[in-house]
Symmetry: C3
Subunit: 324 residues, 3 copies
Amino acid sequence: MRWQPLYFGSLWANQYSDVMKRQHLPDARGVLQAPPEVGGEYEIPPDFELEVRLERTAMNLLESACNALEQVRLNRPLVHNITNYVVMNFTANALLAVGASPVMAHAREEVEDMVRLAGALIINIGTLSTPWIESMFKAGRAAAASSVPIVLDPVGSGATRFRTETARRMLEELPVSVVRGNASEIISLGGAAGGARGVDSIHSADDARAAAEHLARSSSVVVAVTGVEDLVTDGVRTVRIGNGHALMGRVTGTGCAASALCAAFCAVERDPFTAVTGALLTFGIAGELAAAPGPRPGTFQVLLLDALDEIDRALLTRHARIGV
Amino acid sequence: MRWQPLYFGSLWANQYSDVMKRQHLPDARGVLQAPPEVGGEYEIPPDFELEVRLERTAMNLLESACNALEQVRLNRPLVHNITNYVVMNFTANALLAVGASPVMAHAREEVEDMVRLAGALIINIGTLSTPWIESMFKAGRAAAASSVPIVLDPVGSGATRFRTETARRMLEELPVSVVRGNASEIISLGGAAGGARGVDSIHSADDARAAAEHLARSSSVVVAVTGVEDLVTDGVRTVRIGNGHALMGRVTGTGCAASALCAAFCAVERDPFTAVTGALLTFGIAGELAAAPGPRPGTFQVLLLDALDEIDRALLTRHARIGV
Amino acid sequence: MRWQPLYFGSLWANQYSDVMKRQHLPDARGVLQAPPEVGGEYEIPPDFELEVRLERTAMNLLESACNALEQVRLNRPLVHNITNYVVMNFTANALLAVGASPVMAHAREEVEDMVRLAGALIINIGTLSTPWIESMFKAGRAAAASSVPIVLDPVGSGATRFRTETARRMLEELPVSVVRGNASEIISLGGAAGGARGVDSIHSADDARAAAEHLARSSSVVVAVTGVEDLVTDGVRTVRIGNGHALMGRVTGTGCAASALCAAFCAVERDPFTAVTGALLTFGIAGELAAAPGPRPGTFQVLLLDALDEIDRALLTRHARIGV
């Protein structure tokens, strides 16, 4: 599968094509040298018409991502989290840093009341247990009744049958809008017999593309696979996001925080595909900003929260890397 | 309601009045310009006698706050926390940083044993569930039997009936010494039909003053309302604390940490009104110290713990802002 | 009990003896002055033969510790944590920082599946409750069946009967490889009637030596007592580790993280005595590295994770302090 970049920070994809076509010739290996302000090298687009259409998609997505981020800041959507014990603090702080308002509540006595106040519900199965499953379904049904979008983070799906089956049942019984997982988790839900190793992925996002597109179509959800590159698909449209940093895999809860951001963006942007793309661009670029000083993992975790506070339209536009 | 400052860091309120009366005249709008080392402008005290009495109160409170902080450092009181999952780590670290010794235990099999070892009990309903409620009441009754002071943090009271009713029942059935909440939470307990939005307040401390004073009298508790300004009342005495920083609202668990500090101070200072004033002065000034380098929220959370370790009599005295 | 140093960072113990014997004479008090690159002063070894044997032990242990650390980095062992709510995030990040792969799962429906995927199981009773105890035993029995080593952290044993009895029952019914606790916790399990105050120790590691050795022999486990100095014993061999820093007692969860590191090292090193010594050397030296800039507790917690990422063979060899 070819990674076709459509947008590289601060230079629009269509300008970029123009610039490249004007200034650069294919080299001996048949690839275009990117201009110095972009870096790297890329194949010549085989289909100019398609290229232009996709460039427009990338431009629109980025513009919508910027708008959604600004709406989060403006509206401070309440995000109801039913999530795992490990990441609760970091998730709440990530949501606060980006501008949303987190609440955590899991008692069956109150989840319905709480979710009705919320702009989105995130269900994360990272430290699952039977009483919590009951509450997750209760909250999910109440969310559905109130048209509150639901994001599912199937942490560790594929690692144990308990998690895989619970995640599958949620996809069947609840009108989930978005599923965000790593490659192993998505393969366990949408692919052939997969496999996982604890909660960390043993697959790349590319491995998961077919599974993600299948899952998106069969369950009518937007699927996001995060990893070295992220992939977002609704089964028809698929985009890739080239932002992020390896240090994000060295801090617990970055995937869970990405899911929580998806929920915050879904609370302010009706199209989940657009919302998720915006959330993952925001999170990936925040990761790059946090990694810029070359920190080790402890410091990186702190700087990641700072970057979620700092990020804005200008930083999104300068650093976004969207492709197909 | 008028914010009447009584003490501005390092300048005693009565000296301040003298300084102002000597050096400043009311301006065209009928207000006094504060001397440059204080800043701001204030109305002329309408009642000099009352003023002097209140100044003495402020001086006494600050002196007692300093003493209580030093007692916490000296005695390392064990604070038994039954609190919410989101903030457990940060609360424990805040208590350790200020000099106390935290313990978290919630099993009905052991809460009674644990609370008997403790200097204070903090009950926080942030991620409430039925089994935990049973343990909270068990711990509360054992605390009462052993004269261990109880601090209640009614997180999210007003947002769901489950939380509001649980908090009310605790106030009825347990000899709670202190309730610390944001304005919405306090209004839900002591006021007319209030309202909340998740766990973040939609009211100011001023809105909550009547509710707080009513709650204090009807439940015989000291009530603390924290926000841009903090308010502490026992129903007869009411003081305001002007310390703190907006970044405290951008980090999860700062309110919960403030409640935990109230418990630590109650463990070493018999008068809960004095203890709470001391705890909130300490926490608010720590927030200001942490915010001084202009950090973003991730870094601020770290520096807040550092500041709780650093704060001492001199810093309290220099920065305290007490008023009525 | 004499603290007989065998190895002082970057200078082998036997070289050190040579250096001392060549260059230094006992002073008036009958002690040897250490050479300047070592510092301090030490008694003349009373038994040269024993000394040489012990030096070899220290050298072997350090070499094995370095190898184990490198194996953790290379193999990224999956560590299954059933631990307390307070420290889950910090423990997961400590394991990630040192190079291992953490997973947290506690549901009785899945603990057996999860532990079979793991290289080691850590059971930590810090926020114990009845349903979790059931899962801990289930996971422990499945670990035993799959020869997955079990590390027990008896947090707060001695403080309440519930904790003491649960920890004792685990030692009786599960083939635990390692117990890591503070002095009070170990005394409560292996000694005469002890006592604790919450979850913080009121005893020194020296007080706990007899209890630790007795516990190691009676339960066939390796016992680690951490404190100002750490002690590791299998009932026959006992070593002390002189690394660490006082700030580690000012951050919650450092003991729990040390236990989790013991589990990670047990996953790659078959001899638990060697694994635990390696883990505690690594953790203690990481603490020293983190404390070097003179941070306060909030910053220290962040730097401790950074140091766990940074530490390697060279740093271990330079800073290790092993003695008997």
